[in-house]
Symmetry: C2
Subunit: 222 residues, 2 copies
Amino acid sequence: MSMSAARLSRATAGRFSLYLRYLEELVQAEAATVSSGALGQALGVSEAQVRRDLAHLGHLGYPGIGYYPGELVTVLRRVLGLDRSWPTILVGVGNLGRALLRYQGFRQKGFQLVAVFDAEPNLIGHRIEGLEVQPLSRLAQEVKDRQVSLGVIAVPGEAAQEVANGMVKAGIRGILNFAPVLLRIPEGVTLVSVDLTIQLEQLAFLVQQGQAGTGPGDQAAS
Amino acid sequence: MSMSAARLSRATAGRFSLYLRYLEELVQAEAATVSSGALGQALGVSEAQVRRDLAHLGHLGYPGIGYYPGELVTVLRRVLGLDRSWPTILVGVGNLGRALLRYQGFRQKGFQLVAVFDAEPNLIGHRIEGLEVQPLSRLAQEVKDRQVSLGVIAVPGEAAQEVANGMVKAGIRGILNFAPVLLRIPEGVTLVSVDLTIQLEQLAFLVQQGQAGTGPGDQAAS
């Protein structure tokens, strides 16, 4: 299974996240089984696509029955790497950084924010959500001590590349970037960027085009 | 040109946003021309893809010269709908909402936040970034008075669907949703969702897979 998972595209992984979210709802609602048709309808993707996606996970569908939500949840969490804890650091505790710190979803999914940093001297030593804001000079040591592999960048655009460089040098393997700049990172480090302006530009473009409402399947694409 | 623009995919529009950002940097740097190869290299997409993308915009490439950055910027801004102003409302002025209000990028790109709303009585009447926080009961009237077509949702998940319903009813045509839930919206309204947990899940998944660093082309896809 890990073999086929290794060949999954980013788009498939995005749909897996959506399947997982919906299946967790079904487990909470104590649904016994779910069909690929019902899954597809709930998430706005075709039944055939659901079948193709879930086939990557092994033989989990039962003819005439469908899928067992609890079983799918377990497998999806493992494939997505959510059955483990990911120690994560955050750089930048402005409004966006604070919003991320307070965001419950991260912790629930195994993303544990273990250290926060800021360049602003006045903020150093303050506690936010139980974490003491540290100077950037402490970043490398904290990454090493706490075996951190993920870093979140929530600083202004002009500071982002330097922060990314520091993360890479410290051994961070994945960066989630909210700064509205194109970051240059070396091979072997994964970058996911969330550019809020681009999201809004996309929306304006689609509205201008008069495109119809999109299902949740498209939510992953955004 | 508007005919071909109308057939553009969301992915193409995403790359247009990235081309635009890079070309604006070139204009600022007073670069006279740029080749499709240089554009592709800067954004991590193939030269052939750049040519295909820009062909949608009309005959803008000059053999042996390349493209004129200023000319491309003008056309891209028009195609993306950024040559006009988009009155936008925001619902939810928690940390994330405040971060969005303070975010300079929106205003620079023509997204003008004209009204903000919150369900919390204690916040009503407060001014944030020059805007008075209004109760949700005022939403429909403000949308009408200010001819608002875009709405941003930055409320907790459990409140998001009701806010979306209110926006749709008021005539909003495009919704940018930050709440971590799958929203149901009717046809004719465009939805772009930014799910912060899903972005982090993607990152963890890619790091776990050991995928190499991604160019800015992938940044749009995330």
